[in-house]
């Protein structure tokens, strides 16, 4: 096949031309906006990810130009590659919306719904997904599966009860580190992410499992219960790091850096994986070169209560004569404070 061949695809009636081999999800991301299917397990930076959570289901109403029959079932858009002339329905198909609602309900079946405690709340993809597609209440009446908290090393904590088994962290361990020490044990309902005998991950890039986790299953122990995400202020910064790109987001509360994460794009995927030194050890402003405040979507809860100060505060000249005249008043104010 010639290299400049482009397939014409239409997603929700919007045409786009993509290279052969592109998945429907990535074709939709080329268009952007509302028609991009949500993805909980697919991660463009991790090879082989996707196909597990089924939130990205779409309907293919026309298979291709040569074979215009529709696909008999809804397909996972992160794993299905496009064909020439394919027509895909995402949000225009009530069938897809209904199926996605079911998928969200299934994902939430064993989820503990402890968002008030969870450190991921506010930037959790499952929260967003549940808000957009889910039911307001649960129909599940049985005991949810529970696990004890596991410490993976001294910096990462695993709450298996919150896990949705997207396998992203397993792919991170496989692809970024040379030796993987954690994986999925068990099958089906009994499946769990675990390290054998709680063995520590001591790789330099192991902290990235926190960033790739779409829920609060893998969280930063140094940030545990420090503050809510929406009270912290994200600031872009970089540093000259020998092992990684050093481009990060610092999450400030006042003058204190509470947490360091990699920069995430609009789909919640990191731009560059960062090393553990940057993530856990460099928590002083003096370690970083500040680039400026991070642009947060206005619809995001993180943008709430953040006021930008467009004008620098006025420099008030001290008027000694006035201070002397109001000395008594000032002293009275001091007493009151």
């Amino acid at each position: 096949m010639a290299e400049d061949v482009k397939f014409k695809v239409s997603i929700d009636g919007i045409p786009v031309e993509v290279a052969p081999g592109t998945t429907i999800l990535n074709a939709a991301r080329r268009i952007g906006g509302d028609i991009v299917p949500p993805a909980m397990c697919y991660y463009s930076k991790l090879q082989g990810s996707g196909g597990k959570c089924r939130t990205c289901l779409v309907k293919v109403t026309k298979g291709s130009e040569k074979d215009p029959r529709p696909m008999p079932k809804l397909v996972a858009s992160c794993r299905t590659t496009v064909m020439d002339g394919m027509e895909v329905q995402n949000i225009t198909s009530p069938e897809v919306i209904e199926a996605r609602k079911g998928v969200v309900e299934m994902l939430l079946i064993n989820h503990p719904l402890d968002c008030p405690i969870c450190d991921q709340a506010g930037e959790c993809h499952l929260q967003d997904l549940g808000y957009e597609h889910g039911l307001a209440d649960t129909r599940y009446e049985f005991e949810r599966r529970t696990f004890d908290r596991i410490d993976i090393g001294d910096k990462v904590q695993l709450h298996m009860t919150r896990c949705i088994l997207c396998y992203r962290c397993v792919f991170v361990a496989d692809q970024l580190t040379t030796k993987r020490v954690h994986g999925v044990l068990g099958r089906g309902d009994a499946a769990e992410i675990s390290t054998y005998i709680e063995k520590a991950i001591d790789n330099e890039f192991s902290g990235n499992v926190i960033d790739v986790c779409p829920v609060g299953a893998l969280t930063d122990k140094t940030f545990r219960f420090k503050n809510r995400v929406w009270f912290t202020k994200p600031v872009e910064a970089h540093r000259d790091c020998p092992s990684c790109s050093g481009k990060v987001t610092l999450w400030y509360k006042g003058d204190e850096v509470l947490r360091v994460t990699a920069r995430k794009d609009e789909y919640g995927e990191v731009e560059d994986f960062i090393c553990n030194t940057c993530r856990f050890d460099k928590k002083a402003t003096s370690d970083w070169v500040i680039e400026g405040p991070r642009q947060v979507k206005r619809t995001s809860v993180i943008s709430l209560n953040h006021y930008e100060n467009p004008n620098p505060p006025a420099v008030i000249k001290k008027n000694l004569a006035l201070q002397e005249a109001n000395k008594e008043q000032f002293e009275r104010m001091k007493q009151l404070l």
Binding site: D114, A121, R228, F231, L337
Partner: protein, 166 residues
């Protein structure tokens, strides 16, 4: 000029007749209205002795509730502070240690919980936002204080007293 609304009434001033010029009937009518109020139910309360009951949906001082076992319900999730339009609420969370299970209901709790009663507008959004039914505006008025700092209520004033739970 023609009126725009057509509702303008043109009054004509007539000279008063004899009875009107006497004023006495008008005074009598006015006194009758005054005297009638002696026999009507009173609408005022004699305040210090008699206190007016609060309305059912009155929103007063906040209180942080305990659950049926006497543990604090608040988990410091921050939704009250997030919903607060006056930004009156601040909190610092902490992790529950072993042996404190009878004090705090969840594994996270508010170590510091402060409401600035001067900032608070008593809108009740914190009550609405709370996922744990931990905060309610069920108190009375905020009592007057001399100093501004005394209006910042900490957990000592907000958490409801611990009763003997069995």
């Amino acid at each position: 000029m023609q009126s725009l609304s057509n509702r303008k009434k043109v009054l004509e001033q007539k000279p008063m007749n004899f009875w009107e010029r006497m004023y006495l009937p008008a005074i009598g009518r006015g006194l009758a209205i005054t005297i009638r109020h002696f026999f009507k139910p009173k609408v005022t309360y004699k305040y210090p002795e008699e206190q007016r009951p609060y309305s059912k949906n009155f929103r007063g001082m906040h209180s942080l509730k305990r659950d049926e076992e006497g543990r604090e319900r608040c988990t410091a999730c921050g939704l009250c502070a997030l919903s607060c339009p006056a930004e009156a609420i601040t909190m610092i969370s902490a992790e529950r240690q072993k042996g404190e299970e009878n004090l705090y209901r969840e594994e996270k709790y508010a170590a510091v919980y402060e409401i600035n009663m001067l900032r608070c507008i008593f809108c009740g959004l914190c009550e609405e936002a709370c996922p744990k039914e931990a905060i309610f505006l069920d108190g009375s008025h905020v009592p007057p204080e001399q100093l501004r700092k005394d209006f910042i209520y900490g957990k000592d004033k907000l958490v409801e007293p611990r009763f003997d739970y069995k």
